[in-house]
């Protein structure tokens, strides 16, 4: 099931991540901003893709502002954004 509307979850507080998701037509695109981009950029990308795959999202535009969130937090925020994006507008 694809994303129906633009939605967001999370905050910009330290140890959290803010995730925005919106409908797209051709695959997944990911824009990442992070305070630990050099050290964890690739791991964060993998985390996001894995949650999207697990949720069955094939098309979406995702933007993340990461404030040093642990993986379990990023997973939660992406999942929450997906759930919200799937609700009827």
């Amino acid at each position: 099931m694809d994303i129906k509307k633009r939605a967001a979850a999370g905050t910009m507080e330290s140890s959290d991540a803010y995730v925005e998701i919106e409908p797209a037509s051709q695959g997944v695109s990911l824009e990442l901003e992070s305070v630990v981009l050099n050290q964890f950029g690739e791991q964060i990308r993998q985390t996001v893709l894995s949650v999207l795959a697990q949720e069955g999202v094939e098309n979406a535009k995702v933007r993340i502002i990461d404030r040093g969130a642990l993986e379990c937090v990023i997973r939660a925020r992406v999942e929450a954004a997906v759930c919200r994006g799937r609700e009827e507008a």
Binding site: E13, V73, A80
Partner: protein, 292 residues
Amino acid sequence: MRRSMLFLPGNNPNLLINGNCLGSDAVIFDLEDAVAPDQKDAARILVRNTMRYMDFRGVEMIVRINSIDTHYWKRDLDEVMPYKPSLILLPKTGTPADALAADEYMTALEQKLGFEKNTVGLMPLIETALGVENSFAIASATKRIQALFLGAEDLTADLQCKRTKEGREIEYARTRLVTAARAAGVDVYDTPFTDVNDDEGIVKDAELAKALGFTGKSSISPRHVEVINRVFTPTQKEIDYAYEVMDAIAEAKAQGKGAIALYGKMVDAPIVARAQRTIATAEALGIRRDMV
């Protein structure tokens, strides 16, 4: 053993991920009052992930779900039950029927998950006048119930009185809850002390709770945890006495005596039971008998 229970706001990653090292015996992941209505969904997922991925060994996990008059509580349970919290704190429990409704749904979930029945315990949060008056009936409503929990903030609002630091207004509720819980054979936990800057007030409040018979006390501030732990830890004197009681019992048995006295006082069943509880707590904390 739960001396202290620390509330952690369910949508605050910084506190959740550090909740296992703040010193409390148990943490309460809060999906109710600490979470705004439009963040219930996100908090539920965040708390579930915290339970799933973080290592909370040595710290009991409790979840305060939303009350059964909301449309959140079943979804709360759906998310957290697979990760086996030791207790569910059920807000605004006013009648045995409230507790039974939660019990029924939890039983169904346990079946679905292949867990034994009552794997996850239930702890009614008594925070209404009705709940206080029904407290014994609630505490004995189902075997799933392991403890009662007093919530004084909502209760005083319901009683139409002011919540004070001294707590005269909740004296009745406190003693009533302790009595009801003990009569039903379950534990009982005290309401948090809410002034995080009053370092002396928390000591007095915790000592009062211990004196009234509470098993432990909850806290909304990590700063209160150490005091609560200290107050609810048996003293060396109490521990030593408990071992002496057990020694005396063993000796009496060996000598075939029925009744025995220690320090001029008859050692009867309640004294033995208390000694056993003290020793169990001491052992859990790694406090040994002082052999001096």
